[in-house]
């Protein structure tokens, strides 16, 4: 086997040194009745060449966004990943290192994470960020648990214009500790003042907002956050990090916890994972934060260095009193995010944000003019919008896919009462020609459908 260096001779020598005649002698603690008396029912190992052929055959069965044009979003986005990132993050030194438990030989990873934390704080304008969580949905679950512990209240209001998957993850992971997740109906995609006002009560631990919201609408959150604070609850905002080059960050408006999905920051879409859970909080919550945090210190010679800090929050020290059970996180995805943000800088991030908004606005305006299409929900949109179409959505999706275009995600799957609508995402990658083609194909499909 090409990954195992010890030869039969080596093994013989080692067994002699141990004083056994075969590996069997070392397996005596395992009761005979438990030994697998047959070989594993798996094929024998393949040569690398055969492995590559087998895996590539599976890859070719998929319709990927390189060979088609994707307008799919809802938490996973086709943003451009600069080539330098894969080379840098693919270096053995980052790729094959473990969690930095021995800081003297982990300064590479630790400094990158410190830089990452600093960048996330800048994006969201928050006091502290951790080294990453699994993804956006689990970051919300952790935020909700933190809010429950901090406020000693157990009810969470999660607005109905928040990503339904995020909410369901938080329900799964929060309910054993008695967290109740309630919704609050939106009004044409926007936060409804009366609904939220009616929902807030003295047992509300937190209100969860999304910015831009699930339908892509950018809403001013400052008044709502103030109202939430007046009720003694925390304001949790799920923010799109890519939007932070152009939009006022939730931290400026007093958000207590800002979480988000960091996939867009230099990570491939990879069928849903590995992604990057972003978690940032205000100073008062730092000692309750989940996950690893890197801090600055000095070494014995007075040099600046980095270590994991506030470890008394963590499971390997505090066990059942830990703030979270997380151990392995998404360090390499965070590393990619730090590299992405270093490459794009403030100017690039602003231009990416502008590109998204311009493309989204362009497509939305043109589609609105197509007979049989009704774009949904007014107000400024960032990179996503919803529209209704007077036709069968699966047939429309298939018509478009056959022409190399994934047109959007049917909202029906989310059970939000918008069963005849699609959610469309337009990133900075989409060209005017691609957007025009979308409009033309939609028009011709609808014409065909009528006829």
């Amino acid at each position: 086997m090409r990954y195992i260096p010890n030869t039969p001779d080596d093994r013989e020598t080692m067994m002699r040194e141990i004083g056994v005649s075969s590996v069997e002698d070392l397996l005596k603690p395992i009761p005979k009745s438990l030994r697998l008396s047959r070989r594993l029912n798996l094929p024998n190992g393949l040569s690398e060449q055969d492995v590559v052929a087998a895996m590539t055959a599976m890859a070719r069965k998929n319709l990927d966004s390189v060979s088609c044009t994707s307008f799919l979003g809802a938490g996973s986005y086709d943003h451009y990943v600069p080539t330098a990132i894969s080379d840098l993050a693919g270096r053995s030194e980052f790729l094959t290192a473990y969690t930095p438990y021995q800081p003297e030989v982990s300064q590479g990873t630790l400094q990158v994470i410190y830089e990452f934390q600093s960048m996330i704080c800048e994006l969201f304008r928050m006091d502290a960020a951790n080294a990453s969580l699994y993804d956006g949905g689990t970051a919300l679950a952790e935020a909700v648990l933190l809010a429950q512990g901090y406020t000693r209240r157990s009810r969470i209001i999660c607005l109905d214009n928040v990503h339904p998957h995020y909410r369901s993850v938080a329900v799964t992971l929060g309910s054993p500790l008695g967290i109740r997740m309630d919704g609050s109906p939106h009004s044409a995609g926007h936060i409804s003042a009366t609904a939220l006002e009616n929902a807030l009560d003295a047992n509300t631990a937190a209100v969860v907002f999304q910015y831009p919201n699930f339908f892509g609408i950018i809403e001013p959150l400052e008044p709502w956050i103030r109202r939430v604070h007046d009720a003694g609850a925390l304001a949790i905002v799920i923010a799109d990090p890519i939007a932070m080059g152009v939009l006022e960050p939730p931290g400026s408006w007093g958000a207590d916890i800002v979480i988000g999905e960091g996939q867009a920051l230099g990570n491939p879409q990879s069928y849903g994972g590995p992604y990057l859970g972003l978690f940032a909080a205000s100073d008062k919550l730092i000692r309750r934060m989940p996950g690893r945090i890197v801090g600055v210190t000095r070494d014995a010679d007075g040099r600046r260095g980095y270590v994991l800090t506030l470890q008394t929050r963590e499971q390997h020290i505090r066990r059942d009193k830990a703030t979270s059970n997380i151990c392995t996180n998404e360090g390499l995805c965070a590393t990619r995010a730090a590299m992405f943000l270093s490459l794009v800088g403030p100017q690039g991030l602003r231009q990416i944000g502008e590109g998204c908004m311009q493309g989204c606005g362009y497509l939305r305006a043109k589609l609105a003019k197509v007979p049989g299409v009704e774009v949904l929900f007014d107000g400024p949109h960032f990179k996503e919008f919803a529209f209704r179409i007077q036709a069968d959505i699966p047939s429309f999706s298939k018509f478009m896919a056959d022409r190399g275009l994934l047109p959007g995600i049917p909202l029906k799957r989310f059970g939000m009462g918008l069963d005849d609508a699609l959610l469309v995402a337009v990133t900075e990658r989409r060209t005017a020609a691609e957007l025009d083609r979308y409009v033309e194909l939609t028009a011709s499909f609808l014409k065909g459908a009528k006829a």
């Binding site: 990927d64 990879s270 069928y271 995805c333 270093s342 100017q347």
Partner: protein
């Protein structure tokens, strides 16, 4: 002299990326946006008033900065990394290339199933292989890491018991358990009951009998346990727990010892998680991503997280119609890129290769046990599985702590073992060599450990101030927690 200069250059402080920034530098050009007035129409209250202070660097400066940082890491491609319970084996490069294939990397999780049949096939085949290796009936690939796998299984246990009429209140763990076990138990809404290990390092079956009752929802065990010892009475243990209606969970962190030798599903466990980033060779990435699939017996299948891959005729589909499911534990379907790597590894190794993995891992660990026992205390000196736990008690008596031993190893270019864990061994050094290491590497490690032991007698001060040759010297961790500095811009 030359070596001295090398160390000096390695120990030169690397500026933070923010300190390299100069206004106007650009590392990335964005195509001209599509013409539209939508950006201009955004109300000013929503527009960012001051830009984020991200660094401004050219692409080549970014390349140099992160390359310079990278060389300050120890990593498995460089040298030995015997961290116990972490299974730092070789991460084959072909796995990385397969995961980066656009046919896998450029897929959206909510594409119609007909457009991702190959992606679903990867998940289906991986699940089938994991079932065969572990001896269980069903698998979810959704959990993103081992700790999330544990929590997922506990939530399934909770749902199972609830369906039986009583969720119960307690979960038992041995005192040698990983820290994630008690932390997951609490989040799953249970109370932790700690079971002291017996004098042989194994579960004390009599003590277990005394605390078992109908309020016990589950027992969580690592097998082989964190001392590297196989729980020989495991069948008796699992049937005792079943006797009071409880379930038994196996923490699969140490699965690398069992491949093709025996299977948790045959031992009476009801569920177990599998760390793809340990046993199945996917890289640790400086902390993650990992992947923690959970394998379960038939009676727990209805409670698996939503959705589950199923095969209907020749079509693979997501099954959402599972009324007893605990729900979603991740936003999408799991760390798919890690699944691709693990399946690649499985195809490379095959059933025969996996069996070899465990045999050599066990042989390597026992070789180190025998070679090191003259100089170091081996609290449980009998055949161990894939890892062995030493105690630094003898060295401690000379004033040298296990931390000092660990830090001195760094000067030899070797990563220390896991230290001070399991908690039941004083001054513990938990060594897991894995099958990836050659006899020469192990011999060299033994030589280094013996030298450190001699130094603990002859020159203990040398050890107490180590390391000397690393990018930074011993760091003041207490100071970091006292004067907290976790971001560059302080205002």
């Amino acid at each position: 002299m030359k070596r001295q200069q090398c160390i000096q250059s390695l120990q030169k402080e690397i500026p933070l990326v923010f300190e390299l920034s100069r206004p106007g530098r650009i590392g990335y050009d964005v195509p001209t946006p599509v013409p539209s007035d939508s950006f201009k129409s955004v109300p000013s209250v929503l527009r960012r008033s001051t830009p984020p202070r991200l660094p401004e660097l050219s692409e080549n400066l970014v390349m140099r900065h992160y390359t310079n940082l990278s060389v300050r890491n120890h990593h498995i491609d460089r040298d030995f990394y015997p961290l116990g319970s972490c299974t730092m084996k070789y991460n084959p490069r072909v796995n990385e290339h397969m995961a980066a294939h656009p046919g896998f990397a450029s897929l959206h999780p909510l594409q119609p199933a007909v457009t991702v049949q190959g992606a679903l096939e990867v998940m289906y085949r991986l699940s089938e292989a994991l079932k065969e290796i572990t001896g269980f009936d069903a698998v979810t690939l959704q959990p993103a890491a081992g700790a999330q796998g544990e929590l997922t299984a506990l939530l399934m246990f909770r749902a199972f018991h609830k369906k039986q009429g009583n969720p119960r209140r307690k979960v038992i763990i041995p005192d040698s358990a990983h820290g994630t076990n008690p932390a997951s138990i609490v989040i799953a809404g249970y109370e932790v009951v700690e079971l002291p290990s017996g004098p042989d390092g194994l579960v004390n079956v009599d003590a277990l009998k005394r605390i078992l009752n109908e309020d016990v929802a589950a027992l969580m065990l690592t097998n082989p346990n964190t001392l590297g010892l196989f729980e020989s009475r495991i069948e008796e243990i699992t049937s005792l727990v079943h006797g009071v209606g409880g379930l038994v969970y196996m923490d699969g962190a140490n699965l690398n010892a069992l491949l093709g030798i025996c299977r948790p599903g045959d031992m009476g466990f009801d569920a177990c998680h599998i760390n793809l980033h340990k046993t199945f060779s996917t890289p640790h990435g400086g902390g993650g991503p990992g992947s923690g699939p959970v394998a379960v017996k038939r009676h727990l299948e209805p409670f698996l997280p939503l959705p589950v891959v199923t095969r209907q005729n020749d079509l693979l589909e997501w099954d959402w119609d599972r009324p007893d499911s605990i729900g979603r534990v991740l936003t999408f379907f799991g760390n798919y890129g890690v699944h691709v790597r693990a399946l690649t590894y499985l195809l490379s190794m095959g059933g025969n290769g996996l069996h070899d993995v465990s045999e050599v891992a066990i042989l390597n660990a026992n070789y180190l046990r025998v070679k090191l026992r003259e100089a170091y205390e081996v609290p449980f000196d009998r055949p161990s599985m894939h890892e062995v736990v030493l105690s630094g008690d003898r060295q401690k008596a000379r004033g040298v702590r296990t931390t000092d031993i660990a830090k001195r190893l760094l000067d030899y270019g070797v990563h220390p073992p896991t230290v001070y864990f399991p908690l039941i061994v004083h001054e513990a050094l938990m060594i897991e060599p894995t099958e990836s290491e050659s006899k020469e590497t192990l011999d060299e490690f033994v030589e280094i450990m013996l030298q450190i032991d001699r130094d603990s007698v002859e020159n203990p001060d040398l050890l107490k101030a180590a390391p000397y040759t690393t990018p930074v010297r011993r760091l003041d961790e207490a100071a970091a927690a006292r004067a907290l500095d976790v971001r560059y811009f302080k205002d």
